[in-house]
Amino acid sequence: MPKTEKISAGQLMLLLFLSRIMHTMIFRARGFSSGTPLMLGLFCATALEAVAAIPAVLYYSKFGGDPSAELFKSRAIWLRLLYSAYFAVIAGGTVALFTRFLSSEFSKTVSPAIAIILLCAAAAYCASRGIEGLGRAGTVVFWLFAALFVFMALVNKGGFDWLNLRPLTAGDGEKFAEYFFENLSSAWWLPMLCVLGESLNGGAAKAAYGYLALKLAVIEALLLLVTVILWKYVNVIGYPIFALGAYAKSDFIQRFDAINMLVWAINCVLAVGAYLHICAKPFKSPKIFSPIFAAISAIFAFAAYFFGLEFDSAWFLAFKSIGVAALGIAVPGAACIKAYVSGGRKK
């Protein structure tokens, strides 16, 4: 019974979902007035992502192997390093945004510098243990998140008010566009799929479209809940999911703030661990390179936090989008074409 270092399509689907939901967790809503444009924005972005995923899915379903190697053979290392650099920045951004959330909501618990160091160290450990461990742990964290989500929704103090779900108006166009592009730029699951597809034991289509369906269902449900129950609170609290657990009608527990943070922190370690694993993948020894990339990500996070490098600014949005287009769509697309042209190599 040899060890294969492979993950199943279901595990990859959950890993992609957890990294996406991490982004939703640390998403700070500015001027939140209605959830309808956000829900529509998410739906449209997901539809576009489904089309954008075709090259990667096609490549792994028909051909398999590393798309970078398919394109550049021995010089593929440079392209792989581009993936590493991209995900080091994404990891740094995730850590920075999570630290911002920690320091704004739990300012007395831990200092930002300590939080960044500890998060990166824990993520480096997770990354160094390989993709199998990340995939298996992802399943557990997903169920943990699902249980918390359901429980928070059940004991929430706010009541359903369908009047909160108002129809789209002409004034919602800007909000829709903002959220639509924000969602598209956050589709770094496509480059993730390009790198981790190699570790996949079949079922690339199942992983990709399963992820999109799961993402759509869960985040739309979240947005709906936040909108119909407590859209007023979101503007006060800032973080939509956080608002869901802020007011509980339970005698046992007053607020879910800290419980939420606990689950988010576990998810953050896992998601950043997955990014660092991707960073270290081109190198033979992940145990050495995961901490190196963790240090690089920590530097980005420090820069973001202490020197005003904004990870939710326009330039970062552009950086993320270029990464998604180039590394998540263009590379597998070109690899597909090359594989077809060079004789239709079979998997």
Binding site: M1, P2, K3, T4, E5, K6, I7, S8, A9, G10, Q11, M13, L14, L102, F106, K108, T109, V110, I114, A115, L118, L119, A122, Y125, C126, R129, G130, E132, G133, L134, G135, R136, A137, T139, V140, V141, N201, G202, G203, K206, A207, S250, D251, F252, I253, Q254, R255, F256, D257, A258, I259, M261, L262, V263, W264, A265, I266, V269, L270, G273
Partner: protein, 492 residues
């Protein structure tokens, strides 16, 4: 080992001297000189390793009864090796080292003057503990028999429960000095060949001088660098051992140790007991949920308590928070220090309770529980809620004794991290522990299976215990998803 490889020779005294020298003149080597039909012979045994009465009846009496005219040494050897029924176990001895090895295993060695070979007969009869109750794994409705220190008795206990020729015992030896007998136990057709081969290789790679506990072989069986959990479990119950080898696992019995090592081990097995099968499924499922809950309470409750009280009071209900504040105001130490002191005190009491004779162990519990606990609260040294937390934690820890080392370490770390940086610290520890458990493999079977990687039929039987009648798709460890690598898309 000057005599290693040296033949026995035809000189009786020379052979005896060589064997004596092999043992360095050890006082427990007995030599009985006698004549069989006029041929001088010697019977060698080690004191206490053979049953004298059996030896007298099965070897001495037939030997003395052997009468042949002008008997030559070869005739005596022929009688011993071909005609006599002296023991179920016998072996021809050619070398001095072979004689020494057999003597150590409880054989009687017969040497004949003028003949270069001897015979060894199994007459093991060393004193050993009678089959007793399994003290470390008590149960309500299962067997009252535990594995024995004597490997042969343990083998018989297992054979009595699986009366099938498919049950296999494979004897091996390990320990450079102790030369201890180990026995691989498995069911042919259920245990994968690769697992058998790997276990055999692992046993052959044991470098220790002595094999005195199962702990001496477990590191070789479950090679998992940096793993917090163990991919090898132990049991002293023959019924548990039988159930596990029926699930495709392999057990290793050790001579002189009443515990068997079993691999591969799964995390979820720590929550199963023999009584689960004896109880109604709904009750067994309920008991299992209680054990899961106890694991989290024992590992995390003190950490959660400290983190909530120090950093996140908003999670506690108002009345509980006020009670806590009132209690904590009277104590002199910070809550985290108070908690660590009480945990360390509890560990000292637990250790004293284990190491002391049973009659005194009870007194230690009374002193610890009543005197120290009550006095500490009355004097205002520690708060009453904290003592209640530790009481619940300690009781929960007793529910899953097999995970006690892990729970103890997690408890302390959770208190330290929870006290220092609140739930954030507990989250980091949980993530690292989770990853560590998820990467732990034993012979390529994931430690966290069948939960993750998910095997629906087996996972169902964990959370909703199904009755034996409705279980048709029993899976061995090899058939779990993720065994030998994740399957393509079936499991999540």
């Amino acid at each position: 080992m000057a005599y290693e490889g040296r033949p026995l020779g035809i000189s009786l005294e020379g052979a005896i001297a060589a064997i004596k020298a092999e043992f360095g003149g050890s006082s427990d080597l007995n030599v009985v000189r006698t004549e069989v039909s006029g041929v001088k012979c010697a019977i060698l045994t080690l004191e206490g390793m053979v049953k004298t009465s059996d030896l007298a009846k099965s070897l001495f009496e037939p030997l003395m009864g052997f009468k042949a005219k002008n008997a030559a040494p070869a005739d005596v050897f022929k009688f011993l090796s071909e005609y006599g029924l002296f023991s179920t176990e016998s072996a021809v001895i050619n070398l001095v080292s072979e004689a020494a090895e057999r003597l150590c295993s409880g054989f009687a060695v017969v040497i004949i003057r003028g003949f270069p070979r001897g015979m060894a007969f199994g007459a093991q009869g060393f004193a050993s503990r009678a089959v007793s109750e399994p003290d470390s794994e008590p149960n309500v409705k299962g067997t009252r028999e535990a594995l024995s220190d004597n490997i042969r008795t343990s083998m018989a206990l297992i054979r009595r429960r699986i009366k099938s020729p498919k049950l296999r015992f494979e004897l091996l030896k390990a320990g450079k000095l102790s030369n201890t007998e180990l026995c691989m136990v498995y069911i042919d057709g259920k245990t994968p060949n690769a697992l058998r081969e790997q276990t055999k290789k692992a046993i052959e790679s044991i470098k220790s001088d002595l094999i005195l506990t199962s702990g001496n072989i477990i590191p070789y069986l479950g090679k998992n660098g940096g793993s917090f959990f163990s991919g090898v479990s132990t049991t002293e119950r023959p019924d548990v051992l039988c159930a596990k080898i029926n699930g495709g696992r392999i057990a290793v019995l050790i001579d002189g140790v009443p515990f068997a090592a079993i691999c591969p081990a799964l995390f979820i097995e720590n929550f199963r007991t023999v009584d689960d099968s004896a109880d109604k499924p709904y009750y067994a499922a309920y008991q299992r949920w209680i054990r899961f809950f106890a694991f989290f309470v024992s590992s995390m409750l003190p950490g959660f308590y400290v983190a909530a009280a120090v950093h996140h009071p908003e999670v506690l209900s108002r009345s509980l928070l006020l009670n806590l504040l009132a209690s904590e105001e009277r104590t002199p130490y910070p809550l985290i220090a108070e908690m660590i002191i009480v945990i360390v005190m509890f560990e000292i009491l637990r250790e004293a309770g284990i190491r002391l004779p049973r009659s005194i162990g009870g007194a230690v519990s009374i002193v610890g529980g009543l005197v120290i606990g009550d006095a500490a609260v009355t004097s205002g040294l520690i708060s009453a809620p904290l003592l209640i937390i530790i009481g619940i934690t300690a009781t929960s820890a007793f529910v899953i004794p097999s995970l006690n080392p892990q729970m103890t370490v997690l408890r302390i770390l959770n208190v330290l991290l929870g006290g220092a940086i609140g739930f954030f610290g507990i989250a980091l520890l949980s993530a690292v522990t989770l990853i560590n458990a998820c990467v732990t493999d034993s012979f390529a079977v994931p430690y966290t299976a069948p939960l993750t990687p998910f095997t629906p039929s087996e996972a169902k039987n964990i959370f909703i215990k199904t009755s034996a009648l409705s279980r048709r798709d029993f899976k061995t460890v090899e058939q779990l998803n993720g065994a030998g690598g994740e399957s393509g898309g079936e499991d999540a």
